[in-house]
Structures are given as C-alpha cells and as structure tokens.
Amino acid sequence: MTGTVFDTLREHEFFADLSDEDIGILSACATPAAFAAGQVIFREGGPADACYLILRGDVALEVTTPGRGAHVVQTLHGGDILGWSWLFPPRRWMFDAQALTDTAAIRLDARCLRAAIDADHEFGYQLLQRFSQVMTARLQAARLQLMDVYGAP
C-alpha cells in the first residue's frame, strides 16, 4: 500500500465529501490489512470487532450449511465495504468472510469507531448515512437474487 492511511481514506469513494477532520477521526481507528488468497478474514458467530474497506482483491461472504458445505452468498471487490455487524448488538458476524484472491484492505476498529460516534454525533451521522446506503443496496441486491429473475418465466 502506498501513501498514508489518511490519504487512502481521503481518496476513497465511500468517504467522499467527509471533512478532513472526519477522515482524521477515521484514520485514528484505521490500520492496513492484507489477506492471502484463501485466508479467512472472519467467521460467522465471531465478535464483529472491525469493518474493512477493501482496496484490492476479492472476498467471498459464505454461509455453511450441514451436508452442503460452504455456500457463497455474495462476493465483494475492491472499493467495497466488508462488514456492518459491528454497528448493532449482538455484534457478531453473520457470515464467514474469506479472501478469494490476495486482498489489501483498511481495517477500521469497531470499538474505536463506536467511541468516535458516541463522542461526535455529526461524525456518526455522516458515517451511518454511508453505511445505510451500502446496507440498502445490499438488501435490494439480495431481494433481486431471491426473485430468481433468470428462472423459467
């Protein structure tokens, strides 16, 4: 990864229009992270102690069902946000996340983020607005997938 974490966050589309001050708050919670292809990033049921801004690479969100093995429900790619279970109780991951290819990310520490949100509600509003958009888009996508639009008419 080149440049500072601040610069990376500043340039990222997800945080576009955030003030430099807010980017500074985020930066204080952020560390670079890297995952090799095949590496598990987190497991279902584990404590949701972070979220990740994927910079490069591909990540599969999976759920494992007895007798059927792992089932990929969605893949995420460079520019995507991975993880929002840190936002709300019980703060446990709902899926497994596994790197499909070598993946570079920024890890945002959840405890740090929640403390920043509690301390600065305007920052929290800005952040939650962005996460809400991601959640809405994923919900719509999941509904489309459920509709099975390519199935027999």
Partner: protein, 279 residues
C-alpha cells in the same frame, strides 16, 4: 412454386433448413439456419418469427454475426410448446422463418465513446450481434465492457466465446451469478453490482441492456446513478409479438408496437412505461 420470401410476404413463413444445432445449456440451443443464396441481412437487435410446423410461432432475437448473413443464427430457450419443438430440431429439419423484424440497437450513437453491454441470462443472445459489430470495427469505439449476469455458472451462455473475449484486450468482461456452484471462483451477486466495477466515462457512454424486464429496470436505475444519460440507455423489450409488422396489435406497449417500433427502445422514450405494472 417458389418458396415465399419473408421480405416480400412478411406474413408468410419461408421454410429453411437447419444447418446445425449447438447445445448451449440444458434448456437452450443455438440453431444455425440456412437462408437462401444471398443470405439474410439484419441489424443487431432485430428478431425473426420462428415457427414449428403445426405447433406455432414465436419471436426470437437473432444472435449471429451481422457480417455473416449466409447463416441465420438463433438461440432458443425451451420454455413452452413452440420453443420446445424448435429446440428439438435436428440438422436437415426445416424451420419456418419470417423477418427480420423491428429496429436495431443504436450502434451509431455509441461510436467514439465508451460502451456498456449489460446482459442477464438469455438476454446475451440479442446483444451478441452488438459485440460482433463492435469487434469488427473496434477502433471506432472507446472502452467496451460486457457485464453479464446469470442465475448460476451453468446458466452462462456462450461461455467458450466469452472466455475468448476475456483472453483478448478488446472487451472487458465481468461476469456474475446469483448463486454460486462448487468450482465457481467468480463473482456472486446481481449484475447491477458490476456497473461500479466497469471502466467507463459516464458522459457519452452508451449502454445496451437486455434481460428479464425487472433486471433491466434495476440496471437502468444503477446506470443513471452512475451518471449515464437515460437517452443513451437502450433496452430490448418483449411483448407477445405476433404479426411482426405492427398490424395485429398483440405487442402494443403504450403508444408503441414493440414489433415495429422496437424491440429496442431508448429509456428516455419510455420513462413512464418503465414503471407501469400493466399496459
């Protein structure tokens, strides 16, 4: 007695031999039909009415190369009695053909700028002639991306050809499926997710979209959110086309006859119609 020419007698099918049959998917085949000498000239996006003798007739988009008019190539998915009969044809059998009908994709608008070809399921078939046309004159266009979504990896059409495009530099190909399968290491998610990953300059980009109607509606929204002008988003509609020449009214869609005024429409021409549940 001479066989009827579909261009002269558009309501009378001509009976042409099937030259070859290629199984694409479990329920989908591509027929290569042999037109008379001189071939069948068509524009990308046009369709024919294909009939199975004694069973019926259905509209099918032409999926072949417009630069090769001596073969009429049609990809058909078996979903009903007529399409089941057509997909059961063998080389040497005869098939009824009327057409080509309708308008084509606005390829002239796309020249000189980036192009997004967004397909869902069998919606890639009417778009394949677009890709052939672009590849024939590749320098006339900017960046070209094929964004293709299907139900599952085993539902991806023309996979051998897609692999060839992926191996080349002319088209950026992004694939996704709604449901992964063992051995699939590609994207899982809806086709609209691919728009953000494609490289294009929204201003001036032309998008050609074909797939299930609901997929096209969501794709239109996502393209507009990405900054693509709705005048430059073209979709291919399907509405019970029967006569093919705007006489019978079966395919009326608001003020349009899909068979004659379409099947390709600019989204800007049908803003209200896009959101109607029934016309």
């Amino acid at each position: 007695m001479a066989l009827p020419d579909p261009l002269i007698a558009p309501l009378v099918p001509a009976w042409w031999p099937v030259r070859s049959v290629r199984r694409e998917l479990a329920d989908t085949v591509t027929l290569e039909i042999e037109p008379p000498p001189g071939g069948l000239v068509f524009e990308p996006g046009q369709f024919t009415m294909l009939s199975a003798f004694g069973i019926g007739e259905i509209p099918i988009s032409i999926s072949g190369d417009p630069g090769a008019p001596h073969a009429l190539v049609q990809t058909i998915r078996s979903v009903g009695p007529v399409s089941s009969a057509l997909t059961a044809l063998r080389p040497g059998d005869r098939i009824g053909v009327r057409g080509p009908f309708g308008n084509g994709w606005p390829l002239e608008d796309a020249r000189g700028a980036d192009v997004l070809v967004v397909a869902g399921g069998i919606g890639l078939a009417p778009l394949r002639p677009v890709l052939y046309t672009i590849l024939t004159d590749r320098d006339a266009y900017g960046r070209v991306s094929l964004l293709y979504g299907a139900r599952s990896p085993s539902g991806l059409l023309y996979l051998d050809e897609i692999r060839g495009w992926m191996a080349g530099l002319d088209i950026d190909v992004l694939l996704t499926v709604d449901r992964g399968e063992p051995g699939w290491h590609g994207s899982v998610g809806v086709v609209t997710d691919l728009i953000r990953r494609a490289s294009f300059e929204p201003a001036g980009t032309t998008a050609f979209v074909c797939g299930p109607e609901i997929m096209m509606r969501f794709t239109k929204q996502a393209l507009e959110s990405a900054g693509v002008d709705e005048e430059r988003i073209a979709v291919s509609m399907e509405r019970n086309m029967a006569c093919g020449v705007g006489l019978c009214g079966h395919c009326q869609f608001g003020p349009f006859f899909v068979c004659k005024d379409g099947p390709v429409f600019r989204c800007s021409d049908m803003v209200e119609l896009c959101w109607l549940k029934e016309v």
